[in-house]
Structures are given as C-alpha cells and as structure tokens.
Amino acid sequence: MNLQDIYLISPEIGIAIVAAFVIIIDLFVSNKKVLPVVALVTLLIPLFLTIQLHLDTDIGSKTGFSGTFQVDDFAIFFKYLILGSTAIVILSSTQYARRFGGHQGEYYALILFSAAGMMLLASSMELITLYIALELTALPSAALAAFIRQRKSAEAGIKFLVLSAVSSAVLLYGMVLVYGLTGSSHLNEIASSITNNGLGSSPALLFGIVLITAGFGFKISAVPFQMWAPDVYEGAPTPVTGFLSVASKAAGFAIILRVFYTSFGLDNANIDWANMMAVLSAISMSVGNLIAIRQNNIKRMLAYSTVAQAGYLMVGLAAITALPGGDDNAGPIGVLFYLAGYAMTNLAAFSVVIAVSNKTNNDSINSFSGLARKSPLLAGAMALAMISLIGIPPTVGFMAKIYLFSAAMDTGLEWLAIVGVINSVISAYYYLRVVKVMFLSSPKENEKDSETSYGVGAVSAAVIAMAGTFLFGIYPEPILRIAHTAIDSLIG
C-alpha cells in the first residue's frame, strides 16, 4: 500500500469519514436539524475527490492495492451516481428522520456507510474485495430497514438480513468454485486463466456462473430472486426504501457489468449468459408489472415497479452481441443511461411518497387523493415521475427506453423489445392510476396546504429530481457521453 493507493480510494475514505463525522456531531448538538445539513455539506468532500480523480489525466496507473481496486471511468460514473442518489435521499429524509428521535445521527451515518460500500463495489476488481464491499452495502441497509420501532420495520429488517445472507452464501459458493477452477480471485486473471486453460465450456464454470448470477440477481431484485423486495420496501422507513431501490440497484448493476464483462466475456467463456439475462429480463418485467397492478400500498406498488424496471435494465445486459452494423456497446451504455434516468425518476417519486406519507401517516395510494389541489408541486413531480417510469416523452425514462430497446433490436432480440413495449403498456395502467387519484379525486379536507408543510427537504428533493427527469429527457447528451466513455473503459 502506498500513497497512490490512498489517492485512488480517497472518495471512499472521504465518505466513511463523513459518516463518522456525522456521528460525532450528533453527540455534541441537541438540535438534530443540523445533521442533514452537515451530512450534505461534507458530502462535497468525497464528490470533490471523485471529480479530482476523474479529471486527473496524469494519474498513472488507475489500479491500486495489487490490482484489487480500479478507478476507471466506469467506476467514476457509478461513484457520481451513488453520491448524487445518497445526497437526494438525505435531503428528502430531513423531515421524516425526526421519527427516529435520538438516533438521527446513526441513521445518516448508516446511509453514508452503505454508500461507501457501493462506491467500493463499483471499483472492486477482485472477488474478496467485491464480497467485502457487497456486505458493507448490505449490512447497513438491513439495519436501516429495521430502523423504526414498529412491527413491520423489524420484520422487514430480518427478512432483508436473512435473504441477503442466503444470497451472499450462494454468491460466495459460486465465487469460490470459480476461484478453485481458475486459481485466481482477480477478475482479469480469471479471464486469462479461462482462455489459457480452455475452461470456457467447463461444467464447473457454468455452475459457478449460475450461482453468481443468482447472488447478484438478489441485489437487483430480478425475478426469481425478487421475493424479499415487496415486504422489505413496505416495512422499511420510506427514505430507506428509496435508497435501496435506487443506489443499491445501481451498485448491483455496476458489479454485474464488471464481473461478466471482465471475467466471463463472451470471447473466452463459452457460456451464453446473454440468453440467460434475456429470459430473466422478460420474466422480471412481466411478473413485476402484473403483480404491481393489484397493489393498493404505494410502497408495495413501487417495489413491484422496481422489479419490472430491473427487467427493463436487464435488456441491456442481454443485448451484447450486435448484428453487423450495430454497436456492440449500445446495450451496456443503455444500462448506464437507464440507471441514471431511473435514479432521478424513482427519487422524484419516492421524495413525494416520503412527503405525503410523513404528513398523512398512511402508505395507501388513496392517501394521494386530491394531492393536485393540496400541493400542485408535489403532484406535478409525482405525475412526471410516473410518466417517466412508463416511458412517455418528454422524460428521461422515454429516452432511456428508446435507447435500450433499440439496442435489443440491433442485437437480434426483437422478441425482447416487443415484450418490453407490451410491458410498458401494461405498466401504464398502475402508474396512471396514481396520477388519476391525485388529479381527479377530491381531497378529504378541502383546504390547500402550503408546500412547506410537507417538509422543505422532501419537497426540494422532489423538485431537483423532477428537474433532472425533465431536463435529461430533452437533452440526454451529457449523460450519454459519460456513459459512453465509462463503457469504453470497461470493455476497451
């Protein structure tokens, strides 16, 4: 370990220090309102360090800690995404966090520690590092899910912990088998060992890859590993649900792309995991959307919606071998772009849910009735988020879906694109139901609430996320460009 290694890992160290700092500040101040402000301001430090790493052209080697840690453009993309999502989640939970009483400092710290794990995950190039980063992500999330003293919250916590541990064990078994077969735990060396020793069609490698897919499938809540999502999303505190649905999923896709492209690239492993992804994608979309129709709880509905969104995202994982004339990288670039758009959209939706459920103490979709009259701003943000989740212009969800589905067409997966479009139509039913309830039903009390009564933090988080959803829906160019360089650095 030398200074160069410390420099490479500085954003992660920075965010861990921010988390510890928040706990220390918590000990000394009695007014807990300053905690989110402290967290948000100090989050600029890891952000600055990430920008510094991003713009540093004479950085030398981007790999540190004996090849276990890599800060390429791909990792940087996810660090920005995770930092941004974390900041919006913290902003949106300022009002809600008062329910945690004296434990607000720990709440913000756990979110920051989990974010540190996610950032580490995006950079890890070795199986043990990857596992540690994954657990650093999952354990604080389980603690957060059980954070309120309510029956449902503790239940969500134990469900998340047990299922996450089972999935980690399955993942570990797969990783250990791959290690035993290839003799190395470095992703690059696994790839070269598979090529050099002709292990491409070994059944043991296939078994390992299937177990690894199952383990990662849990993290992104793809069918058939989605069973934890609805209960955990419903029981956990709402900001935590938002955090899990956005940042945790982004980190999961980061590591899937990293492992599958670096270690099991199609040119050396003879296993067609793209087809496996295509099937999982079609099942995830259909199951998620069909079950979401029946939900009356907004958090549960959004849980099934994220299962469906994971299905759309996996279209990009399946679309990897383009027909002649197509772009081989369009699929993974689409995944990155979709993740960024999905993060903004879903955070807008969750910020509104946090604001409304915090005020009404009710998670049912009916608690949104007449929101357009009570708070036009929140209703507008929610409506735009729902439209973006369906994939209707002028939102970022539309651009992202166009990009992903056209990548699927380019790779000869027309059937998957058709399934995706049909599913988008199905999903319109339950997303628009929320819009209908907000705009057409009359509110229970007729007076207009002031926007600030919903909590300044949540409202401003909703506005920021809504602005992102709208702006990048019209002008997606900047994100696409960053996603492009990120995928170039991953695939080369």
Binding site: L127, I128, Y131, I132, E135, L139, A142, A143, A146, R149, Q150, R151, K152, A154, E155, A156, G157, I158, K159, L161, V162, A165, V166, A169, V170, L172, Y173, V176, L177, Y179, G180, G183, S184, S185, E189, P230, D231, E234, G235
Partner: protein, 113 residues
C-alpha cells in the same frame, strides 16, 4: 484424503444450511443454518486452496505463488463478515421479540397477504 471428499463435505454442509435457512421456524435456528452455509463455502475454499496451489507450484504454472493463500484469506474474511451478520441478526431478533413476544419467523408475517 482427496480434494473430492472435501468438496463433497462442503457441498453437503451448504445444502443442509440452505435447507435449514429456508425451513426453520425459529429465528436463531435460521441464523445457525446461515452459518452452516458459510462454513460449507469455507471448507470448499480452503480445500481448493490447499490442493490446487501445491499442484500448480509443482507444475511450474506462472504466478502460482501469487495465489498461494487466496482460499484461506477468503475463508477468514467470510468468518469475519458472518460474525457481523449474526450480530446484526440477533439485534433485529431482539427488536422482533420486543414487539411480538416471539422469535418464530412464521409469526413475523404482518405483510404476507
């Protein structure tokens, strides 16, 4: 003892643990089953490291020495993280006991529709 026997023991431990984790009603028993799964992985990791590395060294495979202890290191990390996992699990189980006066996971099913 050959490598196969260790791999089989590891697989059996893993399978027993998986069965237990999915079927046990008592929350503590679920945590114990999780521990079995992790230990099945540990046995596999250490056995693979013990048997494949000397073979690679004797065959003069390039870089064999560099992955000398990876399996063992893997096992140590798994044990450490599993301990953290169980500690958190016990804390949540206490929270469940406080709200329901039971630690049966079948009773913690408010959200099951």
């Amino acid at each position: 003892m050959t490598l196969e026997r260790f791999l089989i023991i590891g697989a059996i431990l893993f399978a027993i643990g998986l069965y237990g984790a999915l079927s046990k009603k008592h929350a503590i028993a679920v945590l114990m089953s999780l521990e079995l799964m992790f230990n099945g992985v540990n046995v596999t990791a250490v056995a693979l490291s013990r048997y494949t590395v000397p073979k690679a060294l004797s065959e003069n495979i390039e870089n064999a020495a560099s992955f000398l202890l990876t399996g063992q290191v893997f096992a140590v990390f798994i044990i450490t993280v599993a301990a953290a996992e169980v500690a958190l699990g016990l804390a949540i189980i206490i929270a469940i006991y406080r709200s329901r006066s039971t630690v049966l996971v079948t009773e913690a099913a408010d959200m099951k529709k």
